[in-house]
């Protein structure tokens, strides 16, 4: 009896693999143990070799389907191809990154397969052959454990940067298979262009200067930008600052946004709502600066300064210079 398969659906980002895919391979290997076979599903063009970016992470198998239409395929066309694969191989579990692409394709596939899909998971474990996904709700204030007891495959989208990708020795056997590409009428992707200036997102940054309600002034934002530059990092914000024009939900830490695990995060004027703390608690070193000695952020910090955020920021910048 062959082992049940646990799939990771590889996602393309322009000419490369989206990093969440590699994170999911590492997590899938961990989940699979000796009980499951980890298989990466890769849909790519005939001349692509994106499997080269997957192999170092050591899944059991990389199953490649080639068609020149895949790089610009629509959500419905991707879901159709994946449905054919699922109905051929009957995986036990299917993991997608909870990227915009993953969150668009997965529910279409779910509807085709009439199975369950848990969104934006922050944790995964197996209990026997039942996959238990931890899903945040109410803006990360509440965690739910969700299972799909009766139907297969068990589908989950997993929030980017929740797990850390680690290269690993593994068979990484590359196989090819085919599906019938069914073009979907009435929708065309007419252009795809890289968006400039998002080379580093707060989720990718190894050093983060985080600003909250107590550090929202223009001067503070200016100083924080300088500090982030000196650290080689980026600014992140808690929810109140997303109301400012210069910040968007993409800059927000926690709250159905970015879960981050930088080497260093320095928090200014952030008291520490639960969803923020959960969103950044995997940082290796956490520094907190806040005028309120009872702010929850100090409970999870390695270093803390109780006092005026602006004064501390000014002193810190001066000493960096």
């Amino acid at each position: 009896m062959s082992k049940p398969e646990l799939w990771v659906i590889a996602e393309r980002r322009l000419d490369h693999i989206e990093p969440t895919t590699q994170q999911l391979i590492t997590k899938a290997r961990d989940l699979a143990g000796d009980s499951f076979k980890t298989v990466v599903i890769l849909l790519e063009a005939a001349t692509d070799h994106l499997e080269d970016e997957l192999k170092p992470y050591g899944p059991d198998e990389i199953r490649v389907v080639r068609d020149d239409r895949f790089p610009t395929a629509t959500d419905a066309e991707h879901a159709d191809a994946l449905q054919q694969l699922v109905e051929t191989y009957h995986p036990n579990g299917v993991l997608f990154g909870a990227t915009i692409t993953g969150r668009s394709i997965a529910p279409r596939l779910q509807a085709k397969l009439q199975t369950g899909l848990t969104a934006d998971a922050l944790g995964l474990r197996y209990d026997g052959e039942t996959l238990i996904a931890v899903k945040p709700s109410y803006g990360d204030n509440i965690m739910c454990e969700i299972t799909i007891p009766e139907r297969r495959p068990q589908m989950v989208t997993v929030r980017p940067n929740t797990f850390v990708a680690e290269e690993a020795a593994g068979p990484a056997e590359i196989t090819t298979t085919t599906v019938t590409f069914h073009p979907v009428a009435r929708l065309q992707v007419t252009a795809a262009t890289p968006v400039v200036n998002t080379a580093t997102t707060v989720g990718d940054a190894s050093r983060v200067v985080a600003l909250g309600r107590g550090a929202a002034s223009a001067a503070m934002v200016n100083h924080a930008t300088q500090l982030a530059e000196k650290l080689g990092g980026r600014i992140g914000v808690s929810r109140p600052l997303t109301d400012q024009d210069r910040f968007t939900h993409d800059d927000q830490i926690g709250q159905s946004g970015n879960t981050i695990h930088p080497e260093l995060i320095i928090n200014f004027g952030i008291s520490g709502a639960v969803q923020f703390l959960v969103g950044m608690q995997d940082a290796k070193t956490i520094v907190a600066v806040n005028s309120d000695p009872n702010a929850p952020i100090f409970d999870v910090a390695d270093y803390g300064y109780v006092g005026d955020a602006q004064a501390f920021m000014t002193a810190l910048l001066a000493q960096f210079n």
Binding site: R13, L14, D75, T99, I100, R103, S104, A106, P107, R108, Q110, A111, Q114, T115, G116, L117, T118, A119, D120, P136, S137, Y138, G139, N141, I142, M143, C144, E145, I146, T147, I148, E150, V184, R186, L187, Q188, V189, T190, A191, A192, T193, V195, T201, L231, S256, L264, V274, Q275, Q281, T285, V287, D299, V300, A301, Y303, G304, Y305, G307, F312, T314
Partner: protein, 262 residues
Amino acid sequence: MKIVVCIKQVPETNNVKIDPVTHNLDRRGLAGVMNPFDKNAVELALNLKDTTGAEVALLTMGPDDYAESVREGMAMGADSGYLLSDRAFAGADTLATGYVIAQALKKIGDADLILFGRQAVDADTGQVGPIVAEFLNQPQITYAASLRMSGPNEVTAERLLEDTKQTLVAQLPAVVSVRSELNTPRYPTPRNIQLSFEKPLTVWHHDDLDLDDTRLGQSGSPTVVTKVYAPKPVKRELTPLTGTPSEAASQLIKALKERQLI
């Protein structure tokens, strides 16, 4: 042109608590409001109504008090509303919800554009839009950052992926979910609030729709919530930085150097 905007009612705050005894969500005293992200979809529809004369209907599934959010959308300017309300629909996950919404859309008929907000702020899944698109076998544009009519029967939209901007052209009918950056939702005017009470709000129950009972509510939902809890951040041992800001800053720099972070 006919536009249907699918909306959800959510608690007005996300500060929900867990009942320490039952371990269930304690939602007592929380008023319901229209999901804020759905207002961007309503605004897009009203904008198209202003420019093309489109007819705008709202559609929601939930208990009878969800009519409040439908009224709110009609006060913003939508022409009519549909509420799908039945005990048989209760406890539905995204798949079972998408099924009933899709069946209602079939009954409404002839929608050229079906709009959704990017996701609901309570459950945060964003799944119902694509599920409905699949059930109706329609093309979808998710997370649209802009949308315009580019022909009598065609829309052109931009979709922002993590670091890529896509331009998509869809021939209608199509399903579109919108990002909140797309627009700023209008407020209801006093006149529109008054008018909203004269606009038709149709309530459909189980028997009003063509439904397969095995696909409804909790029993038609593949996912099961097995546990609900409040996340607990992991505590660390705090080293205080003390003295003047300058003294404290130099302590931090020393510590960061020791940790090879600078």
